[in-house]
């Protein structure tokens, strides 16, 4: 456990300022939020379905994801989260969690007491708006994923999520030069997109063979933006970004 500090909260501030404009007092109030920090190993739960959390989590480093578990091991990943995200901000107003939250990679995670966030919201309406807006963008991404899963081909879905994750990472300074971290397994991608891991593998193979993305390595390399955008019918409006990037 650590204690609150401006440095620790930098990812959150950068994220909020990539989607909204904060007044100086609001920014300072966010930076002064009490936060405890923990390092959580990869593939561990941060909160479970049916929990009644008293804190919200901020991802400071690493990737997290939210998911629902069904019968017979079926899993639906609902979202991926990168530094600056507050994946369970909705728990501020929905007492019971309707899904689980866990790490994908090892993460540094900050815990913000609901009480402090509620007080922030009442005292700084523009901070409240920024947080509300964050949850609305979250919902907008759900709509886009739903559309992909319901009505796009496997190739389109995968092209689309590549575009999305690159832009999300770029907005917080973690992607540059058409290259970004890609710590998720093909099974993760499948569970996010409603596909089997085997089929994800084959489609990624196709995209590589067609020169849209680079060969397998630690980072994902995007070789042909136009083709990916076209294949995934990608239109970034739904990300509702205020500015292009923070880096």
């Amino acid at each position: 456990m650590g204690s609150a500090s401006n440095a620790e909260l930098a990812p959150l501030l950068r994220k909020l300022e990539s989607i909204a404009t904060l007044s100086d007092p609001a920014r300072e109030a966010v930076a002064a939020l009490p936060m405890t920090v923990r390092v959580v190993e990869a593939r561990h739960d941060l909160a479970r379905d049916k929990d009644r959390p008293t804190h919200c989590c901020v991802v400071l480093t690493g990737w997290a994801c939210r998911c629902k578990l069904l019968d017979e091991g079926r899993r639906q990943i609902l979202s991926f989260h990168v530094p600056g995200d507050i994946p369970d901000l909705q728990s501020l107003h929905l007492k019971v969690l309707d899904h689980s939250l866990g790490t994908v990679t090892q993460c540094r995670v900050g815990f913000l007491p609901h009480e402090a966030l509620r007080e922030l919201s009442v005292r700084f309406p523009d901070a409240a708006s920024a947080l509300w807006r964050d949850t609305l963008i979250d919902a907008s991404i759900f709509r886009e994923w739903m559309t992909g899963i319901g009505r796009r081909t496997a190739h389109g879905r995968i092209a689309h999520i590549i575009c999305e994750m690159y832009l999300k990472l770029h907005a917080v300074g973690l992607a540059e030069n058409d290259r970004c971290p890609w710590p998720v397994t093909q099974t993760d991608i499948g569970d996010a997109l409603g596909l089997s891991n085997v089929h994800v593998n084959r489609v990624l193979g196709d995209l590589r063979a067609q020169g849209l993305i680079g060969p397998r390595e630690r980072d994902l390399v995007i070789l042909d933006w136009d083709a990916l955008r076209a294949l995934g019918e990608f239109d970034e409006t739904y990300l509702h970004m205020e500015r292009k990037a923070a880096a």
Copy 2:
């Protein structure tokens, strides 16, 4: 066009009180919101993708839906809306619409100026919480639909949406005795669940043959709740209702 009145706003109040608790002053402030009312015919747009609305819509009677349109006539319906719902509440904080909103049946629709809602939010924090909460439940339903489309069979998805719509209608007093209005076409259901209209027809036929729902008529009749719940793995937690029904 009409003008604001308590009677017109009753569906909105009933909906908000089914998901949150309002203080007396907040309830009165909601009832005093300025609203213009229009009757909109079935299958007409209320707002379009890329619009920058200055009002939010409240459904007063009838059903509405939100959808995204893709190439080659593909369509994804994102949600269905019944009286009391504010389908585009997110436009209060997201300037550009990322999808369209239209009527399913003929509707009476109320239009609430963003300005009035923003003022309400600042003056009555518990009204703001209720509205924020409403958008969070919206998002929760998106997560559930995403899970269904991604990981449930066609039979499960259809069973699930039947359970969901019945409960939503029941919460605002529009469903009783395992019977509820069902004004959507099989193509609508398909576009909501990522299925073809033909397959929806076959699955509905199965559900009827197995005695889970009644024969085709104006209303949908639920004959076997337990079987539908099991088939759709339906767990209403995600609807985050505060009380069982208003009727």
